[in-house]
């Protein structure tokens, strides 16, 4: 059964994406920026699953399966980079990570 219309799912997905985007732009803590990034990724997968359901094929679902796997790898590597960064600079605030600026 398909409960709500496709439009509703797409709107929820877009709102999630917008919130994540806002978080990426506004927050200064690298960890929370990373979490907002994950939020955006999840929003896109929600849209993908909704389209796949309406289309009636499994391809979108399998694609989301792959996306989840790649996202897990990405989170592991990203958090390792953040930890390495923290060890070197002793901060995770974006404001203070401006070596390339000058």
């Amino acid at each position: 059964m398909m409960t709500a219309s496709l439009n509703a799912y797409i709107i929820v997905s877009a709102v999630l994406f917008a919130i994540g985007f806002f978080g990426v732009l506004v927050r200064r803590n690298t960890l929370i920026v990373f979490m907002s990034l994950e939020l955006m990724l999840i929003a896109s997968t929600l849209a993908l699953v909704a389209f796949s359901r309406v289309n009636g094929t499994m391809d979108g679902n399998v694609f989301v399966f792959f996306i989840l796997t790649v996202a897990a790898a990405e989170v592991a590597v990203g958090l390792a980079i953040i930890v390495a960064l923290f060890r070197r600079r002793h901060t995770v605030q974006i404001d203070q990570l401006d070596t390339l600026k000058n």
Partner: protein, 170 residues
């Protein structure tokens, strides 16, 4: 009944997402992220993607968010963040957010994505369908993903080892 469930999960998800962005404390933010993922898993269930909902809960809410919590605890950065709404980035954030919201609004008010009534996939045999597709059509991507996971594991080990090696050299 069913649209009620959709509304419940959608509102819950969006509220938790706002919680991720607004929270000052990183621990609370990651807890909100977990709750948001639970909400998305509920939406997946309503889209008949049971396996994906389960995988989302296991992999994301189970492993990834726990990893986030672990790193937050490990780094132990408490409340030094200046969450003042000022500067170019905040303006850019608000502009981008309102642009996206305007796009959503225009889609919601005018554009209707014409959706034919959803075709029924064979229910109950979903896991079999996944397995069949993964081992026939998508065999090469599965192997590439396995290789990618191996590489990322090696990369994480190298990234977290590197600093000690540098210190040893000094």
């Amino acid at each position: 009944m069913a649209p009620f469930l959709f509304l419940l999960f959608a509102i819950f998800t969006v509220l938790c997402a706002v919680g991720v962005v607004v929270n000052k404390n990183a621990v609370n933010a990651s807890i909100c992220l977990i709750l948001c993922l639970v909400g998305v898993a509920g939406l997946f269930v309503q889209l008949d993607a049971y396996l994906l909902a389960f995988v989302l809960l296991l992999v994301y809410a189970g492993a990834v968010a726990a990893l986030f919590l672990f790193i937050v605890m490990l780094l132990d950065v408490q409340g030094k963040e200046s969450f003042g709404l000022r500067g170019f980035r905040t303006i850019a954030g608000f502009v981008a957010f309102s642009l996206l919201l305007a796009g959503i609004g225009s889609v919601a008010l005018k554009g209707q994505i014409v959706s034919s009534p959803p075709v029924n996939v064979a229910e109950g045999a979903q896991l079999k369908l996944y397995a069949y597709q993964l081992f026939t059509t998508y065999l090469l991507p599965v192997q590439i993903i396995g290789f990618l996971l191996l590489i990322s594991m090696l990369g994480v080990i190298v990234l977290s080892k590197k600093h000690e090696i540098v210190e040893d050299a000094k």
